[in-house]
C-alpha cells in the first residue's frame, strides 16, 4: 500500500491547479486510477501525495461546436465508446475506446489518463494522433494547446509540466464522406494490452482517396502517424490490389522502425494482417465508420 503523506480531493479545476502549483512537483494528479493505483501498489510508482481529480465533473463531458469535437480529459472510455456523437463523427475513436482493457477498466479509465500514462500501446492514443488531436493543458499560469503527438516523448514520458493537467482533447471532425476505422491485435480479445493497433482515416472524392491518415501503436515508443503509409493511399482508388500494396508498405515501415528487435519478426507479419482486415472493412460498402 502506498504511504501517502498528502491526499486532496478538490471540488474545482481551479482548486486542483492551485494545489499542483503550490506542491513543487510533489503531488501527482490522479484521474481514473487504473494505471496509477496498481503501479503504486507494486512500488513501481512512488508518490508523495495525490490530487484526486474524481470530483471535477466540469472536465468529464463530450461536446461539439462547428467542426470540432471536444472531450473533457476525465471522460471515461465507456462514455466515449457509447457516445452517439463519437460513433457518428469519429468511429475510430469509439472503436479504440471499446478496445481498451475490460468493461471494468473502461468505466474507470479516462482518455486524459491514457495520454498522460504514455504507454506505447495506448489504444485511444493511436486514434487521437491519427485525428491530429490536440490536448489542452491548464496550469495556474494559463493554458496551452499541444498536438497529442508532440506531448508524447517516449515510453511513459510526456512534456506535461508537473503543475499542469490535461483538461480537454479536441480534434477536427473528419470531412464528410470520410471513412474511419480502428483495429487492435491482442493476445486475446478482452483485457489484452495491444500487441499492435492501427487507425486509419480516408476521404474519398469521386472514387479516389484525396486524404489519408494512418496511425500505428505499439510499434515505436509512442503511437504516431506514418506519413509514408498515408502517401501510399492518397490518389489511389479503393481496391483489392491497393489493400495488398498497403499491407506490404506497412510491413516495410514496421521493419524499418523495429530494425532487429526480437518483436520485429512477429510484428512485421502481423501488421500485414491487421492492415488488410481494417482496410477491407473500411472499403466494403457496409457504411460503417462513414462520417
Amino acid at each position: 500500500m502506498p504511504d501517502l503523506s498528502e491526499y486532496y480531493q478538490p471540488q474545482s479545476l481551479t482548486a486542483a491547479l492551485e494545489l499542483l502549483a503550490k506542491s513543487n512537483g510533489k503531488l501527482i494528479p490522479l484521474a481514473g486510477g487504473t494505471d496509477i493505483v496498481p503501479a503504486m501498489g507494486k512500488g513501481e510508482l512512488k508518490a508523495n501525495g495525490l490530487v484526486d481529480l474524481s470530483k471535477l465533473s466540469e472536465i468529464r463531458r463530450i461536446s461539439m461546436d462547428d467542426s470540432e469535437i471536444k472531450i473533457g480529459s476525465l471522460t471515461t472510455f465507456a462514455q466515449i465508446e457509447t457516445s452517439p456523437l463519437i460513433q457518428a463523427k469519429a468511429s475510430l475513436l469509439a472503436d479504440a475506446a471499446a478496445a481498451v482493457g475490460s468493461p471494468q477498466i473502461r468505466t474507470t479509465g479516462t482518455i486524459g489518463g491514457n495520454i498522460a500514462n504514455a504507454s506505447p500501446a495506448a489504444d485511444t492514443v493511436t486514434a487521437l494522433v491519427t485525428l491530429d488531436a490536440q490536448a489542452r493543458l491548464d496550469s495556474i499560469k494559463g493554458s496551452r494547446r499541444v498536438l497529442v503527438s508532440e506531448l508524447l516523448c517516449g515510453v511513459g514520458k510526456t512534456n506535461i509540466h508537473p503543475q499542469e493537467i490535461i483538461t480537454e482533447i479536441t480534434f477536427k471532425i473528419p470531412s464528410t464522406g470520410s471513412k474511419t476505422g480502428f483495429i487492435k491485435l491482442g493476445r486475446r480479445k478482452a483485457l489484452a494490452i495491444a500487441r499492435m493497433n492501427l487507425a486509419i482515416i480516408v476521404t474519398l472524392d469521386n472514387g479516389k482517396i484525396s486524404f489519408a491518415r494512418v496511425g500505428l501503436g505499439a510499434v515505436g515508443p509512442n503511437p504516431r502517424r506514418y506519413p509514408v503509409l498515408e502517401n501510399s493511399l492518397v490518389g489511389q482508388s479503393p481496391s483489392e490490389s491497393l489493400i495488398d500494396e498497403f499491407a506490404i508498405e506497412a510491413e516495410r515501415e514496421v521493419t524499418r522502425v523495429l530494425g532487429s528487435r526480437p518483436s520485429a519478426i512477429y510484428k512485421c507479419e502481423a501488421v500485414k494482417g491487421i492492415a488488410r482486415d481494417l482496410l477491407k472493412k473500411m472499403f466494403s460498402d457496409s457504411g460503417q465508420g462513414v462520417v
Binding site: 500500500m1 504511504d3 498528502e6 490522479l30 493505483v37 474524481s54 470530483k55 475490460s102 477498466i105
Partner: protein, 164 residues
C-alpha cells in the same frame, strides 16, 4: 500519514469513516467493512474477482482508491439478497451450476446485474462481452452464460408479476 474522511453508501447503508487514503476500495470493503464476498485475485485489473458496482457501473475495486468512491454508491455481492431471499442472479447461478470454486462468482453476478439493468434480454454475445473482464478457471463459461440467461427470464417473470 494523511487521513481521509470517507463518506459513501454501501449496499444502501450510509458509511462514514476516517481512512488512510492509500487504501483501495477493495481494502476498505474487505478489511474494514468485512464484506469479504468481494475477492482479490490479480490485483491489477486482469481477473475481475474484485468487481463491485459503483453508481450503476461495474468497476474493479482493486484499481481505484477508496477516496475515489466519496459520495458514491457501492453495491457488493452482500447487497443482493434481500431478507435472506436470493435475488434472481444468485438463484439462476445456483440452479444451472454456474458456480464451481466460487471465487469469480461475486464478480460474475455483479457483471450480470449491470448488464441486465441496461439490457433486460441480452444475446449470448452481449453476455460474453459483459463478462469479458471476469475470469473463471473452472466452468468454461458456458454455465455462466446460461445462468445469466436464466436470471434474465426469472427477472422478467418477477417484474411481470409485480406489474400485474
Amino acid at each position: 500519514m494523511a487521513q481521509f474522511h470517507l463518506e459513501m453508501k454501501v449496499n444502501g447503508k450510509a458509511i462514514a469513516l476516517d481512512i488512510d487514503p492509500g487504501l483501495r476500495l477493495l481494502d476498505v470493503l474487505r478489511d474494514i467493512l468485512h464484506l469479504t464476498g468481494t475477492k482479490e485475485g490479480c490485483g491489477e485489473g486482469e481477473c475481475g474477482a474484485c468487481s463491485v458496482i459503483l453508481d450503476d457501473e461495474l468497476v474493479d475495486s482493486c484499481l481505484i482508491l477508496a477516496p475515489q468512491a466519496y459520495g458514491r454508491e457501492v453495491i457488493t455481492i452482500e447487497g443482493l439478497a434481500l431478507n435472506g431471499e436470493l435475488d434472481p442472479y444468485q438463484q439462476a447461478f445456483l440452479e444451472v451450476g454456474a458456480v464451481q470454486c466460487g471465487y469469480c462468482t461475486p464478480g460474475m453476478i455483479l457483471a450480470a446485474r449491470v448488464l441486465l439493468n441496461h439490457k433486460p434480454k441480452p444475446s449470448q454475445q452481449e453476455i460474453a462481452r459483459a463478462i469479458s473482464g471476469n475470469l473463471c478457471r473452472c466452468t468454461g463459461y458456458a454455465k455462466i452464460v446460461q445462468g445469466v440467461e436464466i436470471a434474465a427470464s426469472i427477472k422478467e417473470t418477477k417484474e411481470g408479476v409485480s406489474r400485474a
